[in-house]
């Protein structure tokens, strides 16, 4: 199978789902896109075939399989993940892990021939013993305090088992690093959008970003072409956290680690349900991914890490002055 004619997107309302749907609809060969989500996205009204499925519903797999079969879906992009972790740990697990399991079961039943998973390099986890560049073979160790990352590590291991049991389905896993750009928005972006960025005293890790355009290009290529395997999506180059903050003209508020983790324990739990280490360890240790495999498969990225960051910063400035 080269180019699928009918493509389903689970999590149509997520940023990746909605943007990818728009790009696929703009494609010249007249693809038809089947959107699956809990809410109808008004921007795509009338242009796609929308089905309302709640993935946390215990019978979602059956309903989804029926839809996929009826629509004769050939490729499915699974992006139904929370944009940011919520305090409701159990609900996040139901949607992200169990929901993904439902999607996999439905794909097997409907004999979908291409499966694309939206993952993240955050799944490698920030560990002091990470090598400077994590390749796709590196084990996904996640972070014990980040429940969303934990859920998605579980999804990847479920998918790995599923892939061996369904060899006739081409499975592509895309792991973008932190996405930056004019329109992308999540809890990472929100943290960087503040005028004062909380950092950890004495730590200045290297970070990498991928621009939203490069990220979407890779998703589009993986959906339309044959690219089985796992790919990290990253911009070229790395930037130290302090440089990232200085480039944006922001200030950093460095806090001592143990005190900070204890002090912010309760307020941070209100936002994400996780202890602060679950996020702030990503500003402490290295977790830079090696993007080489992704670059050779999907082409040279248009933006380097620095350019992706500057694109985000300048778009934020424009928004503020408008």
């Amino acid at each position: 199978m080269d180019t699928p004619a009918r493509i389903a997107i689970t999590g149509l309302g997520t940023w990746i789902g909605a943007r990818l749907a728009e790009r696929l609809l703009a494609h010249k060969s007249g693809l038809s896109v089947v959107g699956i989500d809990i809410r109808r996205p008004y921007r795509l009204e009338g242009r796609i075939r929308f089905h309302r499925v709640d993935l946390t519903d215990p019978t979602a797999d059956g309903r989804l399989a029926e839809i996929l079969e009826r629509e004769r879906v050939e490729a499915l992009v699974h992006a139904a993940f929370r944009r940011e972790p919520t305090p409701d740990l159990e609900d996040d697990h139901e949607l992200e892990t169990v929901g993904s399991l439902h999607v996999l079961h439905a794909c097997a039943a409907a004999k979908v021939r291409r499966f694309v998973l939206a993952s993240s390099t955050m799944l490698y986890g920030p560990w002091p013993d990470n090598p400077n560049f994590l390749t796709e073979q590196h084990p996904l160790r996640g972070h014990p305090d980040a429940h969303s990352v934990r859920n998605r590590v579980e999804v990847e291991s479920l998918l790995a088992g599923w892939t061996t049991r369904h060899p006739d389905c081409e499975v592509t896993v895309l792991r973008p690093c932190w996405i930056m750009g004019p329109s992308y928005w999540d809890h990472v972006v929100r943290m960087f959008a503040r005028p004062v960025v909380t950092t950890l005293l004495g730590y200045d890790p290297l970070l990498q970003f991928v621009h939203e355009e490069d990220c979407l290009r890779a998703f589009e290529a993986a959906t339309l072409g044959r690219h089985p395997g796992v790919f990290n999506l990253a911009g070229r180059g790395v930037l130290p956290l302090s440089t990232v903050i200085a480039l944006a003209g922001k200030r950093s508020l460095p806090l001592p680690v143990p005190l900070f983790y204890r002090m912010l324990h309760y307020p941070a739990q209100g936002q994400t349900g996780d202890p602060p280490a679950g996020f702030y360890d990503y500003l402490r240790y290295l977790w830079v991914a090696d993007g080489e495999r992704g670059w050779s498969a999907f082409g040279e990225p248009l933006y380097t890490t620095r350019e992706a960051w500057i694109s985000f910063v300048s778009s934020r400035r424009l928004r503020r002055y408008r």
Binding site: P128, D129, P131, N132, F133, T135, T199, L200, L201, G202, Y203, D204, P205, L206, G237, V238, L239, P240, S242, T243, I245, A246, L247, R251, S252, P254, V257, Y285, L286, L302, Y303, T304, R306, E307, I310, S311, V313, S314
Partner: protein, 323 residues
């Protein structure tokens, strides 16, 4: 939008110019004497000091460093700023005597195996400075640093900028594949944490990782003997219980640390020598030899013995610890 970086840099430059003009304006309007101190003779320039302070306070002087770093985090700007300090340490403080630098290939990647010593990776810094001085930024050898040190708060940002890389197989492979010169300390933490009475007695060389790496990557392997670094931070003994509480592999007690607090971390001015041996030929072996455990362990032991002999020769030639 690919030129976004340049545009922003131009913008930042203009902003800086505008800020400078604003400061001059404020200075001109200030009452006489409080600004540049002309009225009262040479006094401290408070405005200047304030600016400097504000700049430094922001995240330990890191905020101005918006230069490009290479993929392992080495920063050309910081290195250029640190150059006088490194020169001072090399020429005045430790009076490093470098021998056999001509053995080290300059155009090709190679693996340098050295005896580890001293608390902080001054030895790695000095080897890399001895070879990289006066050479282009990219050609500077990178030195491998043990995990516990490269993730230590306050040390980590500086080490990475000065060319330190976390010691692991993947990093070394990547650097060698790019034709970089890599300084490794095969003894690992055992070497850096040696107490003073065990000085210059090389510990076991891990599990032969250095030799295996050189065989696999087909790069020359050079023995390096560093003498003098053991006396820079003589470790009298180690406090095990405290180390467990703090979460470090060891807490050293030197004649000056922790008695003098952070000042005790200033290394003693011992006389150093760095001796580069001749490359050990491994290219006739072929990459499958890396799987031959017995061969690797024999070569590793030979390497250890060679470095030990070089260290002893340097010690013999050294008139005294302080030279």
């Amino acid at each position: 939008m690919a030129s976004g970086g340049e545009e922003a840099d131009v913008g930042a430059h203009e902003l800086r110019q505008a800020l400078g003009a604003l400061r001059d304006e404020i200075r001109a309007r200030l009452p006489r004497g409080s600004g540049t101190g002309e009225g009262r003779g040479p006094g401290p320039d408070w405005m200047e000091l304030f600016d400097e302070l504000r700049r430094r306070v922001n995240s330990f002087g890191m905020s101005e460093r918006s230069g490009e770093v290479d993929e392992f985090g080495m920063d050309e700007l910081v290195l250029r700023q640190a150059e006088p300090v490194l020169d001072f340490l090399m020429d005045r403080w430790w009076r490093v005597d470098v021998q056999g630098a001509e053995n080290v290939p300059s155009a090709q990647g190679c693996l340098l195996a050295a005896n580890g010593s001293g608390l902080l990776p001054y030895d790695g810094l000095m080897i890399s400075h001895a070879l990289g001085r006066g050479q282009p930024f990219d050609a500077r050898p990178r030195f491998l640093v043990a995990d516990w040190l490269i993730t230590l708060p306050f040390v980590q940002p500086y080490l990475a900028r000065l060319g330190g890389v976390r010691a692991c197989r993947e990093n070394a492979q990547r650097l060698l594949a790019k034709g970089r010169r890599v300084v490794a300390f095969p003894e690992g933490v055992k070497g850096a944490a040696k107490v003073f009475r065990e000085r210059y007695r090389l510990k076991r060389f891990g599990r032969g990782g250095v030799v295996r790496l050189a065989i696999e990557s087909g790069t020359p392997l050079l023995p390096v003997a560093v003498v003098g670094a053991e006396e820079a931070h003589p470790i009298l003994f180690k406090i095990e219980t405290l180390a467990r509480v703090v979460g470090l592999p060891f807490v050293p007690v030197t004649p000056t640390f922790p008695a003098f607090g952070p000042l005790g971390l200033v290394p003693l001015p011992s006389k150093w020598s760095i001796r580069f041996g001749e490359a050990i030929a491994l290219d006739h072996l072929g990459s499958e030899a890396a799987d031959d455990e017995l061969l690797v362990s024999r070569l590793t032991e030979e390497l250890r013995a060679q470095i030990q002999a070089m260290v002893e020769q340097s010690l013999h030639e050294r008139p005294s610890v302080w030279g």
